[in-house]
Each structure stands twice: as structure tokens, then as C-alpha cells.
Symmetry: C2
Subunit: 336 residues, 2 copies
């Protein structure tokens, strides 16, 4: 149905060989100015576009990168994607976005699919369900460039771009303490995720430093990072029914914060005099609440940009890269 003209067409039309046309289009020094102009003009006229599949086949690279995130309807990720796009597009790469919806199975399928789609590299933030990363390890060992951001695995040695989660969590928790809350609970994504571990550390550090003890029953995990609202609802309800009911919650994620607020709203408890909330979120909607909600903002756009730069470094490296950094970007506490 949809056919665009090829080098062959141009060659035939101009009575030249395909190689001459190819070289002319690529502005090769071997071609005379006259021929070049002839070819270029005609190509322009018929709106010639090189066939990317042919190019990929020939050059053994697709000039595309794959992204794996939980979901685009999450301000952290949509901002990160904007950062990724900005770098990738400017360097001539297409971006293929896939969503796991926090499912391990979908992560495996997506990664498999991207790899077999012959992307040149992968940008991944692990799903909440993912603890086994052998599907990625395998690809990594076979030489596929991978950069992790946000939720990163321990085991695989490559570039990792993360926010200073511990510090962000520490600041948010400290803020709650300074605001007069002494019984601070913590709701987080699945326990094994890097971000959960780091944010938990920040939370406990802040409590310790302020002479508050840690109550294990104050710490709740939602194994699906808030994708399953029932998990959030159960967590919040359990917290609220504790004998020693917390007076604040530090929530460790964008979706979780919203989920939590929905539960509290439903219970008519969405009010800091009843229970205060502070959480990780990149959504500016928190501004709109009355009273507004303090949140930890991650430099998502910058993280996306940096991750992409690192990935392109790997992809375009002349020699195998063996030295990897772990870049930690600073979060920002929006006190509201």
C-alpha cells in the first residue's frame, strides 16, 4: 500500500547506478557536484526517505532505544520520558516506550520484545514485582547496552541513575517531625525494590536522629506499588486501626501518595489535623490542596537525560565499557 521511492527508483529515473545515488545522497567526496545536485534535487522532489529497516539490517543497529517503566500515567515517569526523548531525538534515536504496570511478567515480555525488536539499548526502571533480574542479566551479558534508572538492581553491573532517595526520605520525615508529628508511619512499594530500601533508610534515620523509635507495625508495603488500590486501602486501614494510631504517614511514591489520599478521602480523614501526609511525588497537583501536601520531588527530567546520555555512551562506544558509575541526583523537598 504505502510505498516510498527507493534509491533504485532514483537511479533508474536519472540513469545512474544505485551506488552513485547512495553516495550522492550521503554527500560523498567521490561524487561530482553536478551529479550530487541532480540526485539531491530529484530526491527532494520525490520526497525520498531512506528505508530504516534496510539501514538497520545493513548497519546492524536500529537507532532506537527501548524504555521500560511502570506506567506513563505517573508524573515521575512522564517527566523522565520527556528527558529521555529530548536527548534521544536530538541524537537521531527513536524511542519505544513500554509499560509494565508493575508486573514482572509484563516486564519480561516487554524486555524480550524490545530485544527481539533489535533496539540498540535499553533504559529500565524495574517493576514493583521484579526481584529476579536474570532476564536482564542474560541480555546484558550478551552485550546489550542497558542503563537502569530509579529502580535499579544490585546484581547487574552497568550505569545506574538514581535520586538520593535516602536523603529525600530523611527530609520528608524530618519535616513531619518538625511539624509536631511523633507517630509517623511509612507506606512504601514492594520491600525488595532499591527505592523502597533507600527510602526506608531515610525514614528510620530521621526517626532515630530525633529519638523516636521504629514501630514495625507502622511500616507497610504495597507489593504492587499502588497499582492495586486494595493493597493501599488495606495498608491505610491497618494503620488507622492500630491501638497507637499514627498521626502522619510518609508515603514513598507518586501513585502510592494518590492512592493513599483516595483512601483517606473515602474515610473522611483527608485532613492533616487527623493524619498528615508527606510523600515522594512529582505531581504539582499537590499544590492545589488545602492545606497543601509536602512532597519530595525527584529531578525526573534530568535523570532521564542523564540515563540516556549514559546509554548512548555505551551504544556508541568503540571499545567495551567496563567502568560504570552510579549517579545520584538530589531530590528537592517542597514544603507546602
Amino acid at each position: 500500500m504505502f510505498e516510498s521511492s527507493t534509491i533504485k527508483d532514483i537511479a533508474r529515473a536519472l540513469n545512474l547506478s544505485t551506488s552513485t545515488v547512495s553516495r550522492a545522497l550521503r554527500d560523498s567526496y567521490e561524487i561530482s557536484a553536478g551529479t550530487k545536485k541532480l540526485v539531491m534535487d530529484y530526491a527532494q522532489q520525490v520526497n525520498y526517505r531512506p528505508n530504516p529497516n534496510a539501514l538497520s539490517l545493513k548497519e546492524r543497529r536500529s537507532k532506537s532505544i527501548g524504555i521500560v517503566v511502570s506506567e506513563v500515567a505517573n508524573h515521575y515517569f512522564s517527566q523522565a520520558i520527556n528527558g529521555i526523548e529530548s536527548i534521544a531525538n536530538s541524537r537521531g534515536y527513536t524511542v519505544i516506550i513500554t509499560q509494565t504496570h508493575e508486573s514482572f511478567e509484563r516486564e519480561k515480555t516487554n524486555v524480550q520484545h524490545l530485544a527481539s525488536r533489535s533496539v540498540d539499548g535499553l533504559l529500565i526502571s524495574l517493576s514493583a514485582e521484579t526481584s529476579d533480574v536474570s532476564h536482564l542479566e542474560q541480555l546484558h551479558q550478551r552485550g546489550l547496552p542497558i542503563v537502569f534508572f530509579d529502580r535499579v538492581p544490585e546484581r547487574i553491573d552497568t550505569f545506574k541513575i538514581i535520586a538520593d532517595n535516602a536523603k529525600g526520605a530523611y527530609e520528608a520525615t524530618s519535616h513531619l517531625i518538625r511539624s509536631g508529628h511523633l507517630k509517623i508511619a511509612h507506606i512504601s512499594s514492594s520491600a525488595h525494590l532499591s527505592i523502597s530500601i533507600e527510602r526506608l533508610t531515610g525514614y528510620t534515620d530521621a526517626l532515630h536522629e530525633n529519638g523516636l523509635s521504629i514501630h514495625p507495625e507502622y511500616i507497610k508495603n504495597c507489593p504492587h506499588g499502588g497499582m492495586i488500590q486494595d493493597e493501599v486501602e488495606t495498608a491505610v486501614k491497618e494503620l488507622l486501626s492500630l491501638k497507637n494510631r499514627p498521626d502522619a504517614i510518609f508515603v514513598a511514591g507518586d501513585r502510592l501518595t494518590m492512592g493513599c489520599m483516595h483512601v483517606l478521602k473515602k474515610l473522611n480523614m483527608l485532613n492533616p489535623t487527623k493524619i498528615a501526609i508527606a510523600g515522594f511525588s512529582n505531581s504539582d497537583v499537590l499544590d492545589l490542596f488545602n492545606p497543601p501536601i509536602t512532597s519530595v520531588f525527584q529531578p525526573a527530567f534530568d535523570m532521564g537525560q542523564l540515563a540516556t546520555e549514559k546509554l548512548l555512551e555505551l551504544i556508541e562506544a568503540k571499545f567495551p565499557v567496563t567502568e560504570f558509575e552510579r549517579n545520584i541526583l538530589q531530590t528537592r523537598l517542597f514544603i507546602r
Copy 2:
């Protein structure tokens, strides 16, 4: 760097010809059971994946579709994308998402890029800046399957999936009237967009039907659909400084609704006793406000699914399709 095994490798290893391997892998009737098993097993063992570029080149299709939306950080679009993905993936298609950020230039670049990336079809919602659609018309005429959703052009004859914008707007406006508001303003995206026109119709219909007159100064357009917050701010401020100040605003979009609320918040006017708001939005965050905000919900997921089904119908059609429908899906008013 990252090489996976090819049919050639398998052929060499098993001492067969590439064509035999190819046929065995495709379970061709011409190949003996023994050879098939041999090949299949070995392929499994070396984790053989067909090279999609070679396939695309050969079959002249890429099994991928391109999406063009304003931005993924918009609940309407992220939900539509989920719908698109659900159908596309189940039918073996990869999806390439691009964002225009409401810019005409970026729309042209993205469309151009997708077309030259040899996607098999395009799913498009026009950018707020787009009034000239010749870049799409051209591709359409050359036979590229295109389905429009949400913001659709008049001129191009193909499948179009839209919400019943007029009715949705009518209901939201009527709701405001029923709630006692008589001076209802309207903030919308750029005036030429199909959704703006349709929503304006619903708005004026509701006013007329209730014996209210239309004040042109009550109707404001933001040419960038809320991407430029200054435009929203100006619009709101102009409305608020009118001698005959409106007591309600019907806002015609997801991002615009949020933008509007930010401005009102800044002016300490985010309160229905001062000025009420009702708008098109697919975000459930509106639930959380006190008092909550009434909104028109579009069946974004369903629209995405339907659009994809129609697109695949076009892509996989044996004969050129010349009969096109315009599917109108019902919105839902969430009275809060």
C-alpha cells in the same frame, strides 16, 4: 556488540540449508518431522529470534504503529495509550509513542519520523497548534493507514474516533446552571480544534436552552491547550476582572482544568463559593478536592482500543478501504 543467532548460524550448525531452517521454523508442511524437531530444538537452545528488520524489509511491513499525542502526562492520553497498547500488543504490533507538546512543528517532525520509520499505520490526535493538515493528507493519499482520535481534522477522509464532546459539554454546563450558576464562562484549547468547536457548541446549547445569553467575553481560548501556563493565567485573570464577573467556568480539557485550578489557587479563588469549576478531565484526582470538582470523563481506554481496531482493519485490509465511519463514544458526567 549484541548479536543474536541467525538462520544461517542454525543452518551451518545443523548442516542444513537456510531455506530448510526457515521452513522448519515456520512449521512448513514440506519439512519432515525429524528435521523440524531438530531445528526447533536447536533454535530454542540458542534462543533464536528472527531479525525484525530483515522481516520488515522482506515483507514490507514493520508490525509497528505510531502514536502521536500531545503528551503522555495527560490522563486522557495515558488512558487512551493503554487502550491502544492492549489491542496492538495482542495482535503482535509494537507501538511507538511520540509527543507533540501541542506544537505543530513537533507534530510534523514526529509524523515525518514515524512515516520514515516505516510504521504500518498512524494513530493521531492533532496538536493544539495544528490547523493545516497537509502533512498528513499527503501521507494519507500515498496510502499510509491513519486513524484519528479525539482531535480530528475535517478534511481527511478516514476513520475517526471521538467522544460526544457536545453532549459532554452540554451536561457539564447544565450541571453548573442547575447548581445555581448563571454567569458561566468557558475556557478552551485553540479555537480551530474539533474538540473545541464541539465543546463550545454544547456550552452554548446549554446556555440557550436555559434562557441564558452568550457573552463573547466569557469565552477564552488558550492556543496551546494549557501547555503554556501564561495563556491560562491570562484567560482566568481576564475573566475575573470583567465588570460582570462570571461565577463559574466550564473548562474544556484535562490540562486546562489543572492549569485553571493552579491560577485560581494562586489568586486564592479556588473555592466554588467564589467561582465554580467543571471541566473535561480523565484524572481521578478531582475526587480528592473539597469540595470536589465535577468533570466530564471520556472513555479514553475504549477510544484507544477502537481506534486501534480500526487502524488494524485498514492495515490488514486485502482491498483498499473507502467507506469510513466516524465513531462517537459517550462521555460520562461525574457529579461531585
